[in-house]
């Protein structure tokens, strides 16, 4: 297990591994939005919570598409499936590695990007906490989508299609928490709901994902 975690992290930091690219994508989304909607600070600050959450979500999603596909193509997945570690554990570990390599940097960088979008400063702690609670669920749900689409040649977009609806609750509560934080309202309730969703996801999805992998390997 540890070996798998270390390998995935090492691969992420190697050439072409994609470490930091999630961050770059996040930055790019945050830059494109003002280009699209115009530079007025007052409007940007109103949509900032939503855009930040959507940006984090897309960055997470896009770095996921080949989570298992690479292992599938080079045959590692066949070999992992016959190795003495439960596939459920393998899925969980790979999702964890993904979160460390992508989700965590997003959380850390989010306040900075919040500044670009004129996010009110009293909302920043809520942004941090809600991302910290929410991104593990994003990684795990994405791993599930990646497991389902692993055998497909152009899984990327199909993956988005499958996974994005699953992201809706996390996104809703996350963005709501930040918006309430920005408005100085009580933001605990959405955060609690979000935490519940994350826990549920972490507990159940590894089994679904491992089952999907087994089916795809057949």
């Amino acid at each position: 297990m540890i070996a798998l975690l270390m390998r995935d992290l090492r691969l992420a930091t190697r050439a072409g591994g994609g470490f930091g690219l999630g961050l770059a994508f996040f930055l790019i989304v945050c830059t494109l939005v003002p280009f699209g909607v115009g530079p007025q600070a007052e409007m940007l600050s109103r949509i900032a919570p939503g855009i930040l959450w959507i940006g984090a979500l897309l960055a997470c999603l896009l770095s996921l598409d080949r989570l298992f596909a690479l292992d599938f193509e080079d045959g590692s997945l066949d070999l992992l499936a016959t190795a003495p570690l439960p596939l459920e554990g393998g899925v969980a570990v790979k999702a964890a590695a993904h979160w460390i390599a992508t989700g965590l940097p997003l959380v850390v960088a989010a306040p900075l990007f919040g500044m670009l979008l004129h996010l009110p400063s009293q909302a920043v702690p809520y942004l941090l906490i809600s991302l910290l609670i929410g991104t593990p669920a994003l990684s795990m749900l994405g791993a599930f989508g990646a497991a389902i689409t692993v055998g497909l040649r152009r899984g990327g977009l199909l993956l988005s299609l499958l996974v994005l609806p699953l992201y809706v609750p996390t996104l809703l509560f996350g963005a709501e928490a930040v918006r309430r934080g920005a408005a100085g309202m009580d933001a605990i309730t959405p955060l609690v709901f979000q935490a519940a969703i994350t826990l549920l996801t972490l507990a159940l999805i590894p089994f679904a994902a491992a089952a999907a992998l087994r089916i795809n390997l057949r």
């Binding site: 540890i2 070996a3 798998l4 390998r7 090492r10 691969l11 190697r14 050439a15 072409g16 591994g17 292992d71 193509e73 080079d74 045959g75 590692s76 066949d78 070999l79 992992l80 499936a81 016959t82 190795a83 003495p84 570690l85 390997l217 057949r218």
Partner: protein
């Protein structure tokens, strides 16, 4: 008791049976070579034995965690070096020692090279070295000597012999000579699932229409 026993096995690919009535047993120290024309179902059979897909009918008996499978693809990460690749697989199988495998497959000069920069045959050698670090008794190999030169094939034969000598077993599919005259050969040609006559037995969904 044998390490691996297969009784009257039928396997299917893409919803159609490929071979049926396959039976054999591998004891410690035995090697069995599967032969048969292209497309008869060797790869399918090996994947079934390795547990990657379910059998249509028949029985596979093997100790749990006895089988190490090596397919066409070698499961190498091109960005990791030879050592890192091997060490990873060793750790997955709960072992630590990789030097013997490196020595055995003559990879000493290449240890620090990223796997992506190896030639076809060097990659294959690394893929075979992976088998050694699993420490599993039953090797299930699909065309193991593809792309290997004569020296490496001889090396491979030596390694397999040593594995058999230590009480292991090997099941291999191949079209070419592996340099293992002592191995038994099972020709799958007569076991091709019959489709011409009335006893068509398609798998799964189609079973209902049979």
């Amino acid at each position: 008791m044998s390490l691996l026993a297969v009784h009257d096995l039928a396997v299917a690919r893409g919803g159609m049976r490929t071979v049926e009535g396959v039976s054999f047993a591998l004891d410690a120290g035995q090697a069995l070579i599967l032969r048969g024309p292209n497309g008869i179902g060797k790869t399918t059979l090996l994947r079934t034995v390795a547990g990657l897909q379910p059998a249509v009918s028949g029985r596979i008996e093997a100790a749990p965690d006895a089988i190490a499978y090596a397919a066409h693809a070698d499961g190498l990460k091109t960005a990791l070096t030879v050592t890192e690749n091997l060490r990873f697989w060793a750790q997955v199988f709960g072992r630590t020692e990789i030097t013997p495998a490196i020595e055995a497959m003559n990879l000493r000069d290449l240890t620090q090279r990223p796997a992506g920069t190896l030639s076809a045959g060097q990659k294959r050698r690394l893929g075979l070295a992976r088998l050694l670090v699993t420490g599993r008794p039953v090797w299930v190999l699909d065309e193991p000597t593809v792309s290997l030169d004569a020296d490496s094939v001889a090396l491979f034969a030596t390694v397999v012999r040593a594995h058999l000598g230590q009480g292991g077993a090997a099941l291999m599919a191949t079209h070419i000579d592996l340099g293992l005259p002592e191995a038994e050969v099972l020709d799958l040609t007569p076991l091709r699932a019959s489709t011409a006559s009335k006893d068509v037995k398609p798998a799964g969904f189609n079973e209902a229409f049979a």
